[in-house]
Symmetry: C2
Subunit: 407 residues, 2 copies
């Protein structure tokens, strides 16, 4: 972790991917992030993948470096504690991240009555408050029909929950931005981040919507072809699949050089009366003529022969590899200084990352594991709500709170 956000206290009431990653990014940059959960865990506490003992590898991945307090959220007293935590005093507190419903007991107006300058970042499904999750929003945006081989009409969902992830990072940006504004004007704000708006806006930011408005229909599916430039997967003599792409003139000329295609492509340019170097769009338009040249060039060489030549020539390429191979890849995992092997709540030890950014001027602090559920219940009640040991004991006795692993 780094300490850019040292001194901030963020309270998180969340599940699934978007809101927990928001809290994760804040914690990895030095904020104190206190997560409250139902006793026994929220709806994502047992989500797959699981360790052999049933612990969720997903949950312990998304909640690294946070503190955990377990509350009975079906009990009004438990709900009140959640409200008081979110709105506890402190100049660098009053920062709440959640995906709880917009109109429930954690509605902004209710919390604002307890702390006027509260900043609340709220992940939502649809902007109108109705249920939506990454996969349903994605289906509504047309992407699954644009994805996959052109010879197959079945919609293809993404495996990586891209809308959740983008929303989580944007929420972290929104929270710190609202804090900067509050430091200036003293005002609290609710920052609502619906997946539906994140999705709709992004499709517009990238030009997909304007393209569809102009053409009348969305981009057709075209397998792994890079739209509007040159790029695709190709197979080598020894059956390896490599991704090659060329957007800039330099990327294009380097690829031709290493593959020995300069003369063949020049001949094609002469035949067609075009210059592929000057216009990446022409490479896309004429890709059906270009692909066979590249397919033959790849089919004639082994991956082990191409890789060093591509690297030496500065070609933009990459091998397709399964995640088990990535784990042995020194640039991704094996020698990556952003990772550190630590012991997790599942009892397993394995490498885990800190912040996704690197600050060369500063040392990376230790990667911290996720808490056990309820591990910090007593500490948080004492430190944040100033409850006495007697009061905390009463809450345990009444079943309103629970300590580590339900004790």
């Amino acid at each position: 972790m780094y300490d850019l956000l040292k001194g901030l206290r963020v309270v998180e009431g969340s599940a699934f991917v978007a809101a927990p990653t928001c809290g994760l990014y804040l914690a990895q940059m030095g904020a104190e992030v206190i997560r409250f959960d139902n006793i026994g865990g929220g709806p994502d506490f047992r989500r797959w993948p699981l360790a052999e003992n049933g612990a969720s590898l997903y949950w312990e991945g998304l909640n690294k470096g946070k503190k955990s307090i377990a509350l009975d959220l079906s009990n009004p007293a438990g709900r009140e504690i959640a409200q008081r935590l979110a709105t506890a005093p402190g100049r660098d507190a009053g920062l709440f991240v959640t995906n709880f419903p917009v109109d429930g007991f954690l509605a902004y107006d209710r919390l604002k009555a307890l702390r006027e300058d509260l900043i609340c970042v709220r992940v939502m499904g649809w902007a109108d408050g109705s249920q939506g999750m990454d996969y349903t929003i994605n289906a509504a945006l047309g992407l699954p029909q644009m994805t996959g081989p052109a010879d197959d009409a079945r919609p293809v969902n993404h495996v990586l929950a891209a809308w959740d992830l983008l929303t989580g990072a944007y929420c972290a940006f929104g929270l710190v931005s609202a804090l900067l504004a509050r430091m200036r004007d003293g005002r609290g704000r609710e920052i609502r981040c619906p997946l539906s708006d994140v999705g709709a806006a992004t499709m517009a930011n990238l030009g997909f919507t304007a393209e569809t408005l102009l053409g009348g229909h969305q981009r057709p599916r075209m397998g792994n072809d890079i739209f509007g430039a040159f790029g695709r997967d190709f197979t080598t003599r020894d059956g390896q699949t490599l991704m090659l792409l060329a957007i800039t003139p330099k990327q294009w000329s380097k690829a031709l050089e290493v593959l020995g295609l300069a003369a063949a492509v020049a001949a094609l340019e002469a035949e067609l009366g075009v210059s592929f170097a000057a216009d990446e769009g022409l490479r896309f338009t004429h890709r059906a003529r270009l692909y066979p040249l590249f397919e033959r060039a790849f089919a004639g060489r082994a991956a082990a022969e191409l890789a060093p030549a591509f690297d030496a020539g500065g070609v933009t390429w990459g091998a397709y590899q399964p995640l088990e191979a990535a784990l042995e890849d020194p640039r991704l995992y094996k020698d990556n200084p952003a990772f550190q092997a630590i012991r997790h709540p599942s009892g397993l030890s394995y490498p885990a990352p800190g912040a996704m950014a690197t600050i060369p001027q500063e040392a990376r602090g230790d990667v911290r594991p996720a808490p056990r559920l309820g591990e910090h219940t007593d500490q948080v009640l004492a430190e944040v709500l100033s409850l006495s040991a007697t009061e905390i004991g009463r809450l345990h006795d009444a079943g309103v709170v629970a300590g580590a692993d339900g004790r």
Copy 2:
């Protein structure tokens, strides 16, 4: 736009998706974002999709609300202007977003010599500085082999550049976090965000890497099945494809109720000796038994019949629709208050979004179009670098800078 970041001045020297979206998010939250480009445009200035007149719908989508200055970056005098812009004085300036190479004329140490407390957020491909783009990093992480129907072994690239997008939002978060730290300690920092680390860390945060370490191989491809819970696409009697998912017990029971499957599923539970309501993982384990029940239930009903029943029952579902249908969807585009029809540099008028978040306490300011290339050249040189009209005229005469559309 909103004004959370009012008063900040950010300089952007960037191309492609990640760094431009970082600047876009900052601009839409009220920062002044000045983008410098090569005269005639950088490597992404003509990127597809294009308007009929050749203007890039992609470029004008990613650069909304920014100012533009055009420089000859092959000329040392143009490079010096870029350096001076990035490091210009001002308490709320000295904020630079880029994807230029880590060791070139915009290297952090060179810029730091001009402004000691500079904050530089740098998008990179691989963390070691070598070339990597979204599609090559994605191939290296195993996702394309996990994506798509189980009966097809071909790798499937994502169409949405998820790593670029996540990196862009994380960079915006990194920049405001570093500003908060600088306000506290007066120190500048370089925040390096390599796509490779964003990808590697995210696969770990979501539990993919731990799963692979434990099992020895990555998750197999399984079409549109939601891993570890219940969810998939189903086809209605009238041939519509709908996404249905159930992670929480409530989502599960609602879906069974509306589809009239409670009895059939109870019989299956009795046969197998399990409770699907209590454990979403069991729904996944036994999905081959559950799917036929759902397929029959969907095949017996029309989409128009299911949609209101799903909505009334609070089921988590969504229709697959092409983007042209999404544009008519009131919740996504047609009546979305985050969008506003404006005139763009292409000369076309079409709806474009402001910030992806909504702040109910504040009015949404107008959505601002992207600049014409070089539209603010003279203004930026005068305001930020305090150059006189004579000096600016000399730079034009020498071809070091250019005004709107190359004039």
